[in-house]
């Protein structure tokens, strides 16, 4: 008990927080009450569901990695340097956030599709993106990236730059400063951003179906499977959603735990 005691947070704050939590928890509970627990095992282990779940996990993980690879540099450039056109870049990064996912899918088609902006050149290289797992990953990356960039940039702006200056006077090149000072400092925010991206990618539906289509094992992710299932049996769609939710919670808490010692 001799660690610095956490300061009290104001007690009234628990009231809105509890209200907010209830607002989130109640619908989830309501869903649970509708799940047909007897059918659940069969449903989950059905080949369609299993394949879709694995595909979802695979594509979302890769999409999250891509978000990190491209999004962290973007956040750093937005939050730690000044250049002309920075405000434009900041707005552009936000756009996929508001684009209805289906429209995002159309935009991707217009770009990487067979008759799209780059489609011809890609086809010349023998690259066919349409109806492939690659398309799923691209759709997920497109919609998920802004979450990482925006949340990380916010954290970078909240944190000062004094340690980075110290590192520079110790002879650290910008790369070293970034790797050993900046990133460790905002690690929790990188983690949050990655969680947001992963979750967004995992739940992605509209852009995927528009840009990549829906074929079992190749492009039909769990959300797509859930939508199809819903046409037949809404309750089992809900059960499948619960699977998605549980898997997501597991993956995220696992990632959190492994990231903590770093």
């Amino acid at each position: 008990m001799n660690r610095t005691p956490r300061l009290d947070v104001p007690s009234w704050i628990f009231v809105p927080a509890a209200a907010g939590s209830l607002f989130i928890v109640l619908p989830l509970l309501a869903m649970l009450t509708r799940v047909d627990w007897a059918d659940l095992p069969a449903l989950i282990t059905s080949p369609g569901a299993r394949t879709a779940l694995l595909l979802s996990l695979k594509t979302s993980t890769i999409a999250t990695l891509l978000c990190l690879v491209f999004g962290v540099p973007m956040a750093i450039i937005l939050g730690r340097s000044t250049f002309r056109g920075q405000d434009v870049m900041r707005s552009v990064v936000l756009l996929p956030l508001v684009l209805p996912p289906v429209v995002a899918g159309i935009a991707l088609l217009y770009t990487f599709g067979r008759r799209g902006l780059l489609g011809g050149s890609l086809e010349a290289f023998g690259i066919q993106i349409a109806f492939s797992t690659t398309a799923v990953i691209m759709a997920q990356t497109f919609v998920a990236m802004p979450f990482l960039v925006v949340s990380l940039e916010g954290a970078l702006r909240s944190s000062g730059q004094r340690y980075e200056e110290v590192a520079a006077t110790l002879g650290a090149r910008p790369t070293t400063v970034l790797r050993r000072v900046t990133l460790p400092m905002v690690l929790p925010a990188v983690a949050s951003g990655a969680v947001l991206s992963f979750a967004r990618a995992l739940g992605e539906f509209g852009a995927t179906i528009t840009f990549a289509g829906s074929l079992q094992g190749t492009t039909r992710t769990l959300p797509l499977e859930i939508y199809l299932q819903r046409e037949v049996d809404p309750d089992s769609a809900i059960a499948l959603s619960m699977v998605l939710v549980v898997v997501a919670a597991l993956v995220i808490s696992l990632a959190r735990r492994t990231a903590r010692p770093a």
Binding site: A167, A168, T169, L170, G171
Partner: protein, 346 residues
């Protein structure tokens, strides 16, 4: 092979030029806010000067056309706050510089261990900075700055949080480290300056008002700040003869000139508070310097008592104070033998 520096920073009202010969240490002294840290920040590349230039070992650090970024200046800066990297252990903090210079992890750690031993902090190696006391943090930060083996070392009040005993040790360490190294040290302590610096520069309001060999500046100060930090009384005036001056208030002071003064030239008189005696009324006798005035304060010092009369201070024993039975506001006469007063051209 040396440092030449001239820079102006408008919004800090700074306009300073300095030179440090290769391998020498310059002390930078001056009141709070006089611009000492700003000079170091400009040198280290953390603040841009509006104009000016700096050349270190023949290489331009900045000028109207050139801008070497901080990490390529090979300048080590110990800032006024320790700013240890909070997420690294102490040894990793110290190893950061060597690592950045390309040393392998074990080699950098070995270097770090060496410097931790130098600052007597080897036993703290595995702690996190938040688990250190203020003085311990400062020592570790010093080790971190030293471990980069920079071409130019900038230390901003390196011993301000260090306890008396440890400070004595650290001064020895710094003396060893600074030998042959070009360095600038900011300090508020005469002892640091005397022991570590070949020359000192005195800053006032962003301008250099005095520079010189360290002992020279403290024994024959020309600026008010140098006089006050040396604990000396100083009176400015105009020479009236080879060994006397007249102060602005008309008092004439006799003393021992370093060289015969030229009447009419500006001159300075300097004497130690311990050499001043205090009387209730003017004592008789041969040529002596006397100042009359009301006591403005009476303060115990470590072993003596400081009687302040306007700008002048007299240190006398507690016994004498009791015998004189003086109090603040009462008029006294301060008396200083001419032999105790140094006179020199101002």
């Amino acid at each position: 092979m040396s440092l030449t520096f001239r820079a102006a920073v408008k919004d800090r009202d700074l306009d300073v030029s300095l030179e440090v010969p290769h391998g020498r240490t310059l002390g930078l002294i001056g009141a709070n806010g006089s611009g000492k840290s700003s000079v170091l920040a400009v040198l280290a590349g953390l603040v841009r000067a509006d104009s000016g230039t700096a050349v270190l070992d023949g290489e331009e650090l900045f000028s109207a056309r050139v801008w070497v970024p901080p990490h390529r200046r090979r300048i080590g800066l110990l800032a006024q706050d320790s700013l240890l990297f909070p997420r690294m252990s102490v040894v990793d903090n110290v190893a950061f510089g060597p690592r950045s210079q390309g040393l392998s992890r074990p080699a950098a750690r070995a270097v770090a261990q060496h410097w931790l031993i130098e600052v007597d902090a080897a036993d703290l190696a595995d702690r996190k900075p938040s688990e250190l006391s203020g003085g311990q943090q400062q020592r570790v930060a010093l080790a971190r700055a030293l471990a980069t083996q920079p071409h130019l070392l900038l230390l901003d009040e390196p011993l301000s949080a260090t306890d008396v005993g440890m400070a004595a040790m650290m001064r020895q360490t710094l003396r060893r480290v600074l030998a042959g190294r070009t360095a600038v040290i900011v300090t508020h302590h005469v002892l640091d300056a005397v022991l570590l610096c070949d020359r000192v520069a005195v800053l006032e309001a962003g301008r250099v008002v005095e520079t010189g060999r360290t002992e020279e500046v403290f024994r024959r100060p020309r600026s008010d700040f140098a006089a006050s930090i040396s604990g000396l009384n100083m009176v400015r005036g105009v020479a009236t003869g080879p060994d006397s001056l007249v102060a602005t208030d008309g008092t004439v002071i006799h003393g021992e000139p370093d060289m015969a003064l030229t009447p009419g030239d500006p001159a300075l008189a300097v004497f130690r508070p311990e050499a001043v005696s205090v009387h209730r009324s003017a004592p008789g006798g041969s040529p002596r310097n006397q100042f009359l005035g009301p006591v403005t304060s009476i303060e115990p010092q470590a072993h003596l008592v400081r009687i302040q009369v306007g700008d002048l201070g007299a240190d006398i024993t507690a016994d004498s104070v009791a015998r004189l039975a003086i109090d603040v506001g009462e008029s006294v006469v301060l008396v200083i033998k001419a032999a105790e007063v140094s006179l020199y051209h101002g």
